[in-house]
């Protein structure tokens, strides 16, 4: 079992998250793409922690899991707030800060 397969999987997952982040407009899909990218980094950290036999990588991965939870809570609260004010989960509706916004 070589770790190259894990590296390949982590890079492909990161890229899928990046593709979802740049090509979709649904706020939930954007949020889940960010989570997927963070999880790919986590997988890379765990793999390196095993390859180098160093437990520090596992500790960092654990802290990143906690940061993922905090990010999820804030993002979902923001989605609820945005849906309550503009009745949409479209990221193109978020133009209130733009000068002369038409549907602010």
């Amino acid at each position: 079992m070589t770790p190259e397969l894990f590296f390949l999987l982590a890079s492909v997952l990161f890229s899928i998250g990046l593709v979802g982040l740049v090509s979709r407009k649904n706020l939930f899909v954007l949020y889940m793409s960010i989570e997927l990218m963070l999880s790919a980094v986590n997988l890379l950290l765990a793999t390196f922690s095993k390859v180098l036999n160093d437990a520090n990588g596992s500790v960092i991965a654990l802290l990143i899991i906690a940061v993922i939870a905090a990010e999820a809570v804030l993002f979902l609260a923001m989605i609820v707030h945005i849906y309550r004010t503009s009745r949409s989960v479209d990221s193109d509706h978020l133009n209130k800060l733009r000068e002369g916004a038409e549907n602010a």
């Binding site: 079992m1 770790p3 190259e4 397969l5 590296f7 390949l8 999987l9 890079s11 492909v12 997952l13 990161f14 890229s15 990046l18 593709v19 979802g20 740049v22 090509s23 407009k25 649904n26 899909v29 889940m32 793409s33 997927l36 999880s39 986590n42 997988l43 890379l44 765990a46 922690s49 095993k50 390859v51 180098l52 036999n53 437990a55 520090n56 596992s58 500790v59 991965a61 654990l62 802290l63 899991i65 906690a66 940061v67 993922i68 939870a69 905090a70 999820a72 809570v73 804030l74 979902l76 609260a77 923001m78 609820v80 707030h81 849906y83 949409s88 989960v89 479209d90 990221s91 193109d92």
Partner: protein, 180 residues
């Protein structure tokens, strides 16, 4: 051989889940794809012999984050006309995949080169992780706990309805005036 087959099955589940996540129009189906990917990631952690991370992944990412996002999706219950209008979705996904492909190759090549320069391949025990977490990494651990508390308070403040509090205070004022 067994490890390779388990890895292949888990990797196929994760890839299928994440592709379903970015390509579905209905938000709940995307969340189900995300759930499959997260469970596959927990299996990957177990395959890498880091049991503590696997359990943490199951408890936090699957048990809390995905369930919370599914509950939010079901509560919001966006109708079809409220979902964003994306007529050229697959075209965008295709072109951005082509653009992102060199980044994928870069990450893969650089990590592989890093691994080839030093490697031992032994399991990381949970005991060592716990000792490190509470000796060397205790300051980041505490900072993360403060971050979680801040995120919780911030989420309550952001998602609260502003109008209800004003109405209740007004009602309370009127009621107190009536009583006096």
């Amino acid at each position: 051989m067994l490890e390779i087959s388990i890895f292949t099955i888990l990797a196929l589940f994760m890839l299928a889940g994440s592709i379903a996540m970015i390509s579905n129009r209905q938000t709940l189906f995307s969340a189900f794809g995300f759930l499959v990917a997260m469970i596959g990631l927990a299996g990957m952690f177990a395959l890498l012999d880091s049991r503590f991370l696997a359990i943490a992944q199951i408890m936090v990412s699957v048990g809390a984050v995905v369930v919370l996002s599914m509950l939010t999706i079901l509560t919001i219950n966006a109708k079809n006309e409220n979902l964003p209008h994306e007529p050229h979705k697959y075209k965008w996904i295709f072109f951005s995949s082509i653009l992102v492909l060199p980044v994928t190759l870069l990450i893969y090549k650089s990590t592989t080169a890093l691994y080839q320069s030093f490697s031992t391949m032994e399991a990381v025990s949970s005991k060592v992780v716990g000792k490190l977490l509470f000796s060397e990494w205790v300051l980041p651990f505490e900072i993360v706990s403060i971050l979680l508390l801040t995120a919780m308070v911030g989420a309550i403040v952001i998602a609260r309805k502003e109008t209800t509090t004003k109405e209740t205070t007004k009602n309370d004022l009127m009621r107190s005036e009536e009583n006096s």
